[in-house]
Symmetry: D2
Subunit: 357 residues, 4 copies
């Protein structure tokens, strides 16, 4: 039961293999009447697009989206919004020689075990290209959220060992930065680090942080579909993510209750929290503070250094991965994190409409 749909009310289904004719998404459950134009979606796809800096793959994709349905006179109809992105620069021959070899750190082996065979061209459905559909769909979600006054902003908190220590950096500075690092000093060190890694044919990971503001308290469902749980799933479903934490996260495990509990206070007649160790959720529901979460991304598995592996017959082999690959996926994943967060929040806000009689 391969289920390529995320969400219960705001429902996103993605499709497409890396080197097939197209990738895309169907967004079902968007309320009718939301203003939506192609440019609302394109601007997010443009941020994800490869080839924008020295740090990303050289694959060229225009990644132009076509809205196939669900929008009429620039407003959503309440019907499914199908979004199509053609694959244009498919150099499938790059992959034929790894057709029968399992790349370390990749999904190849699992696909063969699960399905009996796989589309080996560019990783097929396990390619990072699959996230284009997520970003297109997420753009619809983020547009919906912006109509409710909610903002979702992610940035690179760290690359390898280089980390922004300021708890609240000015995220707006991440926008123009090739590594999405809103801190000039850390950017300088990180970019030098990545350049060196690239020279060695190696790759790096990092941590993305996301901040969501404007969410009313009470969003999220108390038991299995907690706000934190849904975010964790959505973010961990992005290819390279290996860890997720909310607010203080792993550090909370070392705190005392008296330190970790955020006192409630009254700010101009509104109930608020004095601190935000919780990262904006209590009991799985938003608590009125900004949502803060972090995702740990492993280094890109495609490296050009020789690696030990086996082929599909089990014979041990050495592999040297060619083709066009990102030495680190973190900066391109920033917008994917925003997209997935947007989808989760949109879904939970709509679900919340039936909470009361």
């Amino acid at each position: 039961m391969s289920d390529n749909t995320y969400g219960k009310v705001f429902r996103v289904t993605t499709f497409g293999e890396s080197h097939g004719p197209a990738v895309g998404a169907v967004v079902d459950g968007t309320p009718a009447g939301l203003p939506l134009e192609k440019s609302d979606i394109q601007k997010y796809l443009d941020r994800r697009k490869p080839g924008q800096s020295e740090f990303t793959t050289k694959r060229q994709e225009s990644d132009e989206v076509e809205i196939l349905s669900g929008v009429f006179e620039d407003k959503t109809l309440g019907t499914p919004i199908a979004l199509l992105i053609r694959n244009s620069d498919q150099r499938s021959k790059d992959y034929s020689e790894i057709k029968d070899i399992y790349r370390p750190g990749h999904a190849d082996f699992g696909f063969d075990q699960k399905f009996g065979f796989r589309d080996y061209r560019g990783g097929g459905r396990s390619s990072g290209r699959e996230t284009a559909g997520r970003v297109a769909a997420g753009a619809v979600a983020l547009k919906l959220l912006s109509s409710f006054g909610i903002t979702v902003q992610a940035f690179t908190r760290s690359i390898g060992p280089f980390r922004i220590e300021d708890p609240e950096p000015d995220i707006s500075k991440a926008a123009g930065n090739p590594l999405c690092i809103p801190d000039a000093g850390v950017f300088e060190k990180a970019s030098e680090y990545v350049e060196n890694i690239m020279k060695e044919g190696d790759s790096a990971g990092g941590v993305i942080e996301c901040r969501i503001e404007g969410l009313s308290p009470g969003i999220g469902e108390p038991v299995f579909d907690k706000l934190d749980a849904e975010l964790a799933k959505a973010i961990m479903s992005i290819g390279a993510v290996k860890g997720f934490e909310m607010g203080d996260g792993f550090r909370a495990a070392e705190s005392l209750g008296s330190e970790n509990n955020d006192p409630f206070i009254n700010v101009d007649g509104r109930i608020a929290k004095e601190s935000n160790h919780s990262g904006g959720t209590l009991g799985g529901m938003s608590d009125g503070s900004p949502l803060i979460f972090r995702a740990a991304l492993k280094p890109t598995p495609s490296i050009s250094k020789p690696q030990k592996t086996v082929d599909s017959s089990g014979r041990e082999r050495e592999i040297v991965i060619k083709g066009r690959h990102d030495p680190l996926i973190v900066p391109r994943a920033v917008v994917v994190v925003e997209a997935m967060a947007g989808i989760v929040i949109s879904d939970l806000i709509l679900r919340n409409r039936t909470a009361r009689i």
Copy 2:
């Protein structure tokens, strides 16, 4: 849309408030023919039961399960298995005085914001008692997994600052230990630490690690329902969990690709991995190595130290929480982690049955 169901094929629905008549679960989707007796479930509930050591709440609950349906002649029928656990020791009056006050770190405020009112007795549905239903349901899952030769074992990796450094401790030693710490030295320090915290009316957190062995490769769905993503959601849906990581997790963000990639090797004709930085998943599917994940639990929010907060009218108040509370929830959560992991794996294994023609 409050959805209290987890899973797509193996589906668990829990119900019950802490101080209502009962808690429980309906397990739908268990294949027919699985041997199942009450004792298979009771033994897990007994591990979760309060009052078993100095480190847990003094609330007394027999937590005896009744199988209401779905089992006939000690075998599952393929129909829903309803599991009932009566609440017996409800001292609701303990809670009447906090009826209108929002406890810091608790779900009270969110519930009121979401639903307009709440069952304030013992946290209602946000109580840790809700996990009894999860454990009962998880016991069915774990029985199913054991019939497939799969084992799920969790333990306490750390309490506050005290952590087991051995990457692979002997988990079987966690069983008899009041803190579920399979390391005598760490246990000694941690228990002393917790005793001091209890004296001060404070609370502690910690990290639980879980190891799953015997899983074939290819389990998990490649896009949104990745094995890691489903585990992340299930584990983050447990009350106090604020962080989740798979394999090297957050440390992977600092590694190089050449370090993090696990080479494939041939072990006696079987494809295996030489190392396990991935924690047993690649591309969202099991890769044949043991699954390893960790959950960070925040300190219990119920502390008896005076705290600053507000009441439902927004007036600032001081609160001193009385009643019977756990100074740390980690040891009792170990079996809840196993239960939720069991549910996830059972669901994904059954889902995998339709992967191929």
Copy 3:
């Protein structure tokens, strides 16, 4: 994948075998704040209860419901409402002799084929007793609908060949009638007919009609989850139902468009329809007219006349069914039809809350 849940937002899960400890339901998704007491549910169960007239099984069941969760201070909490009905009068020995024989018209053969074995006592989960859970859950739905000013009323349109010809009989007269026939003349003929059938150890079927008033236009989803489609599924999922029609139904297939189209008119400033051939739905959405649908129920398969059949080894056998059975299920199914209709409408009304921005 045995899925015993109905609904997407208002979600009902039933459980229980006929001769196990209990049957029941978990109702998830009821908005918080709905007044709900045990008597709101009990009154519907009492209508379904066996042993109320000469025309129904002699099995005695008090069918008393216990609300296990989800209600606090007589209002719904927004959390799952678990409803428990103990089985009390289980004469399982009546069934031991048909353990290995497939009763014609029953689910026995299918259960064995599907699951490998079955709970043969009283049909297990395929028993009409399973509908007690539906009725209990449906009572919650009907209470919710009544809070919105919506009424759901079903009655017996025909028993065997005896049919009420009046298109709009006074449904309130069905209430006290043992056959739920709101027409004295038809009742007289039908009851005589059933009495004769009972003497011969045979059984009868009939048609139930249901009328729903007070529904706003636009309820129902335009494509797969059309109002008619959801009603059809819910009603066809009741044991003996073999046909379903909406409005003119099968007769519409013989009409001309000019006859079948209901003209829109303006009634005191409100858009309405001059006729109601559609039965209250257009394009899968409510059109403002009363919903009218009919269900055809086959005769009860349990008859005491000797029948030809086979046993589980395939040997041909003669069977004479003993035990306590209904000679016709139609009157007891009337409240089940109301319950299922209530569940469908509640679900679709709540789903409609996210139709617009």
Copy 4:
């Protein structure tokens, strides 16, 4: 919550408005390894295509399908299969004058009530054109079923008052027939009848019957997702369908149990039924006999006779519908019935794979 997805394991999502850029479907959950080519899908679309006889709309659509994903080297990958059909002959201006008027028998009023506005061009998403996506998706299902040896064949049982009385006509004769009537005599009368109706600017309805052979017993889920219930929903979700019956259907309501029960017999060592009043289902599961069901279709609502209606401001108006419309939809709906039946059966067969341990 507009949910445009059908099925739980074999999942079909359709999208597209009649006069937007395209219609299509995403088929998720097809097992990997099924041979599938464009022609497998195109041949079903060609049967649905308009303009093939004097009895259908003159709208010209090539209805050529493009497979965007999920297929590699002519085999399914186990990933979503996205199917795209461009709209080519959109004469939107035909509709501008009915932009504010509610056509009797159409979904216009419901759409406005639900969503606040609508794509009035050709009915938007409520157009019969939406079924192109269903047929494309259904073709994948029917290919899957054929790989299991299961056949699905529908035909026109009646048009208006003209009905094939033979209980088992030779369905293969329906293929070349413009009305899909496999009986020369009935065809002659029916076609004359339709020609007269067309002259008067009126429309007709009819009954479609479907027969499914080769299904093992035990398919279908015992409670809510009964085989009959799922078929009822799927078929009632097709635009004009107002009634559904299984086997004897409404006639069963007039039978005695001794007549309606099908005796089990042993045929060459296999358990079978001597008759098939049940239409191939018992207790919601297949019983080994052919599945037989019927759908009643209302006359097409678009007629050119003047009709009474209102506009969106509530003013009473007369409407004369222009444009290109089918005088009866029955023959084009035959393949839609097969498609939907194929989707249901595929889903339930795959779901059945987890019935036993």
